[in-house]
Symmetry: C2
Subunit: 368 residues, 2 copies
């Protein structure tokens, strides 16, 4: 973390407020980042607030400045991300900031978008404004970790979620699995889906569980529902084929013959990938404006996603139930580990209760 | 819980103190219960404290009365368990209580031992003392749940413990398992062993892990180490065969031929059971003064112990690691469940962190 002597404690509560404003649109701004902004007048009084609500809508700074009106003159803008300096779907924010006659801009973090990447800050300084950077930078980077990850890797941030019994099972030996977790945990998963741009399963999950995979209205539009299928051996009837409730993509490699493609159900769109692998899928989803995806798949696809670096975060629901049975389904297929020394411990875990269940969350360190 | 109008709030802090005193000997009193006692003089001032340190040593009441001396006269005795009225290894406590000239006795719970079972309270009342019962009765019953269970069922209280990765594995696919949990969790398990009278594994765990199974000095003597083996296919060299550090029992059914018994290593004692099953083992261990045993076994024996009602409590350490691999060892073999409706949710779970690991603890309800 950079140390900035101008980052006086006076800005912290206002930047916290800007981060709160940004969070109001969590899950709705993709492919754009979350951004929040506040404007203080000359005397340091709050005169404007704004946040970026969704792509195509005005940026946070513009909304906050509009609210402040003439009171912005000589004042301070606090914004969670460096103002943009390029013409996108909306005009460059730097020009609006300069036009408002502000004296100072306080920025939490630089925009990693290569079209900005410090050029916005330079433009403001060249125009004579004082610019203070790196105020609550880590918090801002954490809030926008999905956007930052997508911009820097070309792939959306991946969350791998599973619900298991206390003995580590995701189904009974005969495959029955509805429901392992309780209602509160399932509602938490609906909300999590609402914060994601796509929910991914494999063909096996469609065949075994026939899931709906929506946020149950927490997000409008619903996240894309994606089936990654190597075999394209998919059922004719499935909840996912009803695309009136949400978009469904069937992603497949270029391998399958015409015959299998002809048998696919009506409704879902096809997404052709060079090969039917998690990494290829995420690159394609990044092109479709996805910043954050949720893996809700079986053990084979989950292990492949982990091994291909497509998982940045784990969300594990542990239900106080015992299922038993050596052939019962478990969360992860082979990771290729042969010694406990190769097993990497996950850092920074957090825990919360969801009804009778526990939710364990971990961010995977980069070397996982 | 019984409601007793005489159970005034005035007794609660003193009974809590008596429960604290009782807990000082946790794991060391078997086959006896934990008991703590305080004596208040006529004016309600604390004049004596005592607890039962181990079988054969004076009971808690006797110690507390000895400390109080003549100040007990006209005073009150608070004791976590009904005073005994029979001659055991020590004389009946009721007579010592009567002889001390007390005015009142406050009892948390009745002694379930059929030789007492209310007769101690009756004896005191017959001698003219006021007896108040059921003060912090649930707390006292919880503290002595192992003793109460052993007296009422003829089997020690069973705790099933395992350590698993976040994906529910107790070993890598190749069997490597040392160590899944971190040092703090392993030290917690050492302390847990010190509170138990026996630690039980199957032959497979001896062959796979060669465990030591001691409390590492937390308990003196160390808990018995018990191997329940149907096949008696045991290695010639194993840490458990060194009985200088702790007693080892090899429990087996009456099935094995003379040949297998002749091949058993020197050191451990043999314990012949009618059949080599968890239930038979626990009945034999109750005869050997065990109130509480710890199952640290593999999935087959753990599932059998659960199915035979030999597990009353679960302690699951979840380590923030991913092991993966469908053939990797998991905590429990088949429990015979075929529908999620048959799966019983566990009640009253608690959670604590042990270093980077989580410890989940559950008491199994009676119908599990």
């Amino acid at each position: 973390m950079k140390v900035n002597p101008s980052a006086s404690a006076v800005w912290l509560p206002w930047m916290r407020r800007a981060l709160q404003l940004a969070a109001l649109a969590d899950g709705r701004t993709s492919p754009n980042p979350l951004v929040g902004a506040v404007v203080l007048d000359k005397a340091g009084k709050l005169v404007g607030e704004g946040f970026h609500a969704c792509a195509g809508e005005p940026h946070a700074e513009v909304g906050a400045l509009a609210q402040a009106g003439k009171q912005a003159s000589g004042g301070t803008l606090l914004v969670t991300l460096e103002p943009c300096c390029h013409q996108g779907r909306t005009p460059p924010c730097t020009e609006a900031v300069i036009a408002a006659g502000l004296r100072r801009v306080v920025v939490a973090m630089q925009d990693p978008d290569p079209r900005v990447a410090g050029a916005g800050i330079t433009r403001l300084r060249d125009a004579g404004l004082e610019v203070i950077t790196a105020v609550l930078e880590l918090e801002a980077a954490h809030q926008n970790r999905a956007f930052v990850h997508r911009v820097s890797t070309g792939r959306p941030w991946g969350i791998l979620k599973w619900a298991m019994s206390l003995d580590g099972r995701t189904a009974l030996p005969n495959g029955a699995s509805q429901w392992i977790s309780g209602g509160e945990a399932r509602r938490w998963v609906h909300r999590l889906r609402g914060q994601c741009d796509a929910v991914i399963v494999g063909g096996g999950t469609v065949r075994a569980d026939d899931p709906l995979l929506t946020s149950r209205g927490h997000s409008d539009p619903e996240p894309k529902r994606v089936v990654l299928s190597r075999s394209l051996d998919l059922p004719q009837q499935a909840q996912l084929w009803n695309t009136a409730v949400a978009q469904t993509l069937v992603a497949h490699g270029l391998e399958p013959g015409h015959e299998q493609l002809a048998h696919l159900p009506e409704g879902p769109e096809l997404l052709a990938l060079p090969v039917s692998e998690p990494l290829e899928l995420l690159q394609a989803l990044a092109q479709q404006d996805c910043n954050r995806v949720l893996w809700e798949c079986g053990p084979g696809l989950a292990a492949a996603a982990l091994q291909q670096g497509c998982v940045q975060e784990l969300a594990v629901v542990v239900a106080p139930k015992l299922l038993g049975g050596l052939p019962a389904r478990t969360p992860l297929d082979d990771l290729g580990l042969t010694s406990m020394k190769e097993v990497v411990g996950l850092a920074s875990g957090s825990l919360q209760s969801l009804g009778a269940d526990w939710l364990l969350q971990y961010e995977l360190s980069k070397h996982c």
